[in-house]
Symmetry: C2
Amino acid sequence: MPVHAAATRDYVTEHQQRFLDELKELLRIPSISALPEHKTDIERAAEYVAAQLRSIGLDQVEVIATEGHPLVYGEWLRAQGRPTVLIYGHYDVQPVDPVELWESPPFEPTVRGDNLYGRGACDDKGQIFALIKALEVLMRTSDGQLPVNVKVLIEGEEEAGGEAIERYVKEHPDRLRADAALVADTGMIAPGIPCITYGLRGILYTEVEVRGAAHDLHSGTYGGIAPNPLHALAIIIAGLKDAQGHITIPGFYDTVRPVTTEERELWRRIPRDPQELLQEMGSSDFFGEEEYSLLERMWARPTLDVHGIAGGFTGEGTKTVIPAVAKAKISMRLVPDQDAEEIEALFTQRVRDLCPKGVTVQVQAVHCGGWVLMPPSSQAIAAAAAALQEEFGREPVFIREGGSVPIVALFGSVLQLPTVLMGFGLPDDHLHAPNEKFYLPNFYSAIRSAAGFLQRLGE
Amino acid sequence: MPVHAAATRDYVTEHQQRFLDELKELLRIPSISALPEHKTDIERAAEYVAAQLRSIGLDQVEVIATEGHPLVYGEWLRAQGRPTVLIYGHYDVQPVDPVELWESPPFEPTVRGDNLYGRGACDDKGQIFALIKALEVLMRTSDGQLPVNVKVLIEGEEEAGGEAIERYVKEHPDRLRADAALVADTGMIAPGIPCITYGLRGILYTEVEVRGAAHDLHSGTYGGIAPNPLHALAIIIAGLKDAQGHITIPGFYDTVRPVTTEERELWRRIPRDPQELLQEMGSSDFFGEEEYSLLERMWARPTLDVHGIAGGFTGEGTKTVIPAVAKAKISMRLVPDQDAEEIEALFTQRVRDLCPKGVTVQVQAVHCGGWVLMPPSSQAIAAAAAALQEEFGREPVFIREGGSVPIVALFGSVLQLPTVLMGFGLPDDHLHAPNEKFYLPNFYSAIRSAAGFLQRLGE
């Protein structure tokens, strides 16, 4: 064990109860970014994070007001000649509905067994807090010095699709200039198996609106002659993907970069059991492109999913309305080398082509974020791998993830940064769902691993 | 003009303001049968109708409690040797959403020009009130006598698919025995053109529920392997009807009775202008079986419409959920000689056949009502035709309607009654929609026509 690793281990052991208590304090603040009534909580959470940064000795700590929720920034740039790391995370959380399914209240963090339960426990308060505590450990065990230069940028609207950080990054590339980014907002495939995520899917989120008559019609009177926007929408949605799950948008797959033989070989050795996956999902069967492996479908194949359909009557009882308007929320996960704008155009054209007569259709792209594919050979990733090996006693597994972290794509395109995605969530952590939790051994592993990573990067 | 017609005319003219005021009073009661929070209003509306029946001198007036909303009954059986007419209507109304589209509040009845605006103005409070006022007119102008025996049965759950009246009719055939039924819950094809409806479509209303995973999933993590019930539902719905509007359920059209050459010839002369129809609908185009005439499609062809799709996320913003469950409300209008049970079985089979793998589907028939096709030659219909000719100065047009009035089918099958469907709604009365109205000249025409009908039937 390197000398510094031993010092880190001792400090974490000595202070682990306080670390947990301070994390709980942050978890008690219901900083739900999507709900306007939690605006004050969002501000409290930002202030709490800023106070943490100040207390460990970062400079220039500030809560930056934006058009949306505030950003928290802090830096420590006194490691002359050493690399600079940009640390990113978010202090906002998802809504808690259905709240009646929580076994303990979402904002009363509760330890049961080895887990800490509460909204944000893992996503992302627990993970970002581990990075902050790693900085504290390094400071306190090295006479107030860090082994590298550090810039910390923590946002408050990751769960609400906010654009404040995007604008800030684009407008302040100089302030954020660094050599690598460190993001703890991803996961591990199983307890004890450290992972480095080198790929993420992008996202294109759209709203499709179909209009028929000028007002709602009665199906008794007009059934047989009236266009039905809900039926038209069903025809469109059914026409976007076949019954086997292949996306039928002409050209959609043209730019999909095949997974390399080497990568496929690596994935074959990843212990992700199909039966466990089904159990996780609570599903009797998978659905999708059967000619690809499950991991490839989750990580490297693009998808299309409809998330909701509005229009007409969905209450109790029977209403025989032919609605004037129907809307669907449809998103696509994009992979290398798909271009979001190009896909948007193909999607829009396909939707128009599928639209039956009697109605009109409009497509609006609401939100998009790029995919990420990092070369697994950079110096930063090597440092992360070594730190994880030290902590877990085994080589990390290199994985991709199916979700999208648009900020990582932005770090690449605007700041030309390689990003280390070293995450400590587990598949059963119930992100975005009731009973979200963080596996506490991973909280402490995260602190030690992040400290080890920064230490190695500074060597 | 027959002597009695003149007396009726004078009485209506003298009391027209009071009639309007009393109707407004009924319209102010928000008796929305589908919404449980309006239960008290339903009861108030029933009591108001009962009080009206009492005040004009009917016997045995009572508000009959049921498992659902109450029925109102009253009778006058002192016209020995004369026929008995069963008068039917409903005092409940549709919900008012979207309420922001109403130009005046739905339950503050407002006269603008020749129209009375308010929920229920036409459907059916205005129309049933005209029949009640016709009884008052006859009583007051004939020394407290009616020209025929009368039984009045008014229900409170027509708009909620309630079954109370069905049960009551089946359990009390003796109490309801009559020679003909009179129903004012239909319409006219244009102002000034009186209509007698001799055919109605039936209805089969279903709920289709598709289940995938046990809980909602995140499309980032599981997109590509998770079944999506909303997508499955879209495939099912799209598979029930082709892009030209033909229903693709095997056997669905097998028992459809063709319209006779004679009927088709009659319909050709009905002044229903396609451009006006489009304007009424606020639509740029029709949708449906182009090989049939518009009237045939509206009156004599069966249809299938989806009324709403629930599941997933339809709020503001972007949520990338793959829902565990999705549901659709789908109804079919049935025509002679389709059998609802047989169609339900064919529909269910087709839905199952269309359901893609990875999900399960369940079909539930929520509500059904039979179609009606009356021979246009009965004595009652002749009396109605004569009364309408007297009132409007022209022969009535014999039409079918595309809507369903299940009670009329029941009167035929259980009580063996021919029903006179003499309605006074206009195509632009916005039934079930914002800004529902009743054309006031039709309100008074309805009173005089109904009085004339009963008078003639008693001769």
